[in-house]
Symmetry: C3
Subunit: 350 residues, 3 copies
Amino acid sequence: MAAITLGDLAARFGCELAGDPGVAVERVGTLAAADGRTLSFLANPRYRRELATTRAGAVALDPGSLASCPCPALVSKNPYALYARIAQLLYPRAAPVPGVHGSAVIDPGARIDPTAQVGPMAVVAAGVVIGPRCVVGPHSILEEGVQLASDIYLSARVTLCSGVRVGARTVVQPGAVIGGDGFGFALDKGQWIKIPQVGSVSIGADVEIGANTTIDRGAIEDTVIADDVKLDNLIQIGHNVRIGKHTAIAGCTGISGSTVIGERCQIGGAVSMGGHLTIVDDVVITGTSMISRSIMHPGVYSSGIPFEEARTWRRLVGHFKRIGEIRQRLARLEGGAGAADEQVGDDERS
Amino acid sequence: MAAITLGDLAARFGCELAGDPGVAVERVGTLAAADGRTLSFLANPRYRRELATTRAGAVALDPGSLASCPCPALVSKNPYALYARIAQLLYPRAAPVPGVHGSAVIDPGARIDPTAQVGPMAVVAAGVVIGPRCVVGPHSILEEGVQLASDIYLSARVTLCSGVRVGARTVVQPGAVIGGDGFGFALDKGQWIKIPQVGSVSIGADVEIGANTTIDRGAIEDTVIADDVKLDNLIQIGHNVRIGKHTAIAGCTGISGSTVIGERCQIGGAVSMGGHLTIVDDVVITGTSMISRSIMHPGVYSSGIPFEEARTWRRLVGHFKRIGEIRQRLARLEGGAGAADEQVGDDERS
Amino acid sequence: MAAITLGDLAARFGCELAGDPGVAVERVGTLAAADGRTLSFLANPRYRRELATTRAGAVALDPGSLASCPCPALVSKNPYALYARIAQLLYPRAAPVPGVHGSAVIDPGARIDPTAQVGPMAVVAAGVVIGPRCVVGPHSILEEGVQLASDIYLSARVTLCSGVRVGARTVVQPGAVIGGDGFGFALDKGQWIKIPQVGSVSIGADVEIGANTTIDRGAIEDTVIADDVKLDNLIQIGHNVRIGKHTAIAGCTGISGSTVIGERCQIGGAVSMGGHLTIVDDVVITGTSMISRSIMHPGVYSSGIPFEEARTWRRLVGHFKRIGEIRQRLARLEGGAGAADEQVGDDERS
């Protein structure tokens, strides 16, 4: 990518420029490491003190930080988004190189758009449709009937099982498995009987799916990931889960089968969510939370207790295991309400 | 699959039929979406209210639900298992297409049954034995000495490291890695020394292993997964773990090395289990539990605290961190037993 | 490997021998299963009682256990490390078979040392450098500009994305993905904008990376894994994380972006660590801990509450959810300090 001037950037993205419009940047960098050809940004207040000494060619920042900036600035109420857009301009994804690598195994019944790129060792089964400008990275597997819209990027080693449909511009990181069988077994006289998983997976447009993340196919109907959903690495999505538009989920989180998550939710890492739940729109769940019942109101929800020194923690756990006794002793001191009180405790469910 | 009549189904599976034996079904569906050619089922009481309005051709249900069923019914005390069996009949797995794909790399020292199917890009090393009617999906890797019994289904991109043995009818989902090195290192003067992992993995018959699940090879003796064990996605099984027959484990659970789990256990998702533990037969562990000591009696075990609104949760955590103080204050009110009481708290171990 | 005498082993590893130096061992085994040609070891006190009846040819043990040993012994203060070194001698990794398999796809712009081994179906892109005696296992993918030093072992199906650098003697288990895009998106008017991840990953020497573990590339600068770091299976390492030398992390742990972990740390399984934190050198974190703030002092840290019977656990949770009420009632009994006390509780942050 050639350099681009700050004047051009301000015009293109409709942001205010404070400084010389003729200065050009050609790469991005941190405030601490930037040089005069580098665009940096300030979005996280943790890094504010690095602004004063930056040698960046320009910094994307919010209006309130402008006074402290020692170099040209591109000013936006959302400097992180501005940075993202400029970085996309400076680091465009390589355009697809149309064609199918000679080592790929393509079923004659597959339809591949002539503008699409299919990499080495890819396996493309019968009935697959690959749309314009899609990139199917090396070692990817597209089973029977997979349908890719346009401009999809399967980076490498992506597995799409039979019937999976993917919307435009979706990106899948290496090792993701979409459409493996859901975990469905019926117990009969001590033996597990496998329940055929006859649904598939429907992935929307502008979705991102992280490395080694797994999304199971539906038991009967499809598992559904709506447009602009962002899934980090090593996430497990059970069969028949439905995730609404613009929801983002951080790594190591697991969503059990048939749970429905609304739009614009933000779910932290290592969250564990039960099955058959409903989470409405605009719910934020902090990392490590255990979600064992539905959430019917927008808001922020948490569980998980932060660490202490191990010795302190062991004491806390010891006390916790005697918390029932604490309540009994308290009731005794208050004068005899203990027994009734304890029954309430016993009935509480989570 | 052609349609099959309810009369045939009742005869084949020995269940009671309420309704016209000549009605035929040809697919499965949910109660809400079923039409007259569809078999549905009612096993989870959450869906009971959908029974009254279903347009299904037939519903598999328990005797207690029969009165509410507006259409023909196949009646069983275990309608979920009945449904599973009928679904297997309507959606049989494709029979193996005998032969080895031209792109696979097969060592001349491997023995492949002529009825087995080996897919594109598979790599089969010396000493491998592939039994009758096995399917080795595309991109699978079978290292030296792997032995597959009969009717095994490795869906795609399955890695079986050297010496892994797999029993009949076992199914492995994409991305699973069986037989990678266990996590064994000795610390010597601040440096880690790798301990060769010279055991392998023995997988029984009728096992299911989920997508991107990892099962480590044994340090000396084998890691063992017994018959009819069902493992969901993204599970980690450490070296020398032994899991007994019919045990099922949900996704994102990790089992540390040398732990032995009994038969017929049911272990929820995101459970974390320490090493060198014993879990007896018939133990149920609910999701997110932390298992740090052995379980010597059948029963149901739990840990993990469900979420609250973040503001409420922060208060609870704040209170929790002062629970020792609570006990001290309580003891002071009761009259001076405080100091002794605290020592008990300190000694408690988990 | 041929057999080796105890005299040779004692001389080679500088340890004391108690017994006949002419006895030879040729394999390793557990104390319980060993025979006269087997070397065993005693490092974990759990197995002490098996020492008295072992039939091993020799046992590696510490001086304090020598008196109870019924057979020849190799004595070391660190018998586990001694065992590791002998096992490496008895079970050497197969030497690389120099050359590139005919099915691999190698870009003409890649440089592969003639002593390196590149397995079936490997894909090696332009600008890749593969050093002496490296093994690139079957189905591995090395994207543009990947650099491998010497004696690296990529077991099978390893994905190294563009620009990843790996130090000497590092071992990577199957399914690991190194250098996938970090989880970086800016929210703008309800839509996620992808932030190009332009850093890469730098892996040191003598590192081990477990099966299906994922390490994201940096957003701007590199993600860094220092020398002799050991990572178990199914670990997620976010973008721009830095892990210091000799640190070991057990399976299913997730480290959020930009967190810096010191040297010689030991981090248990299923730990969940927030982003932008600092963990100093010599920190031990026990399994399942939630790390939501920095740790500035060496020590042992924990969270996670061990299980109870489900009925007991439900009661404990019920009590816990009323812990604020407990403090209020306590304050009331003490005489009126309640309101002020509750405000403290509310302000506490984790």
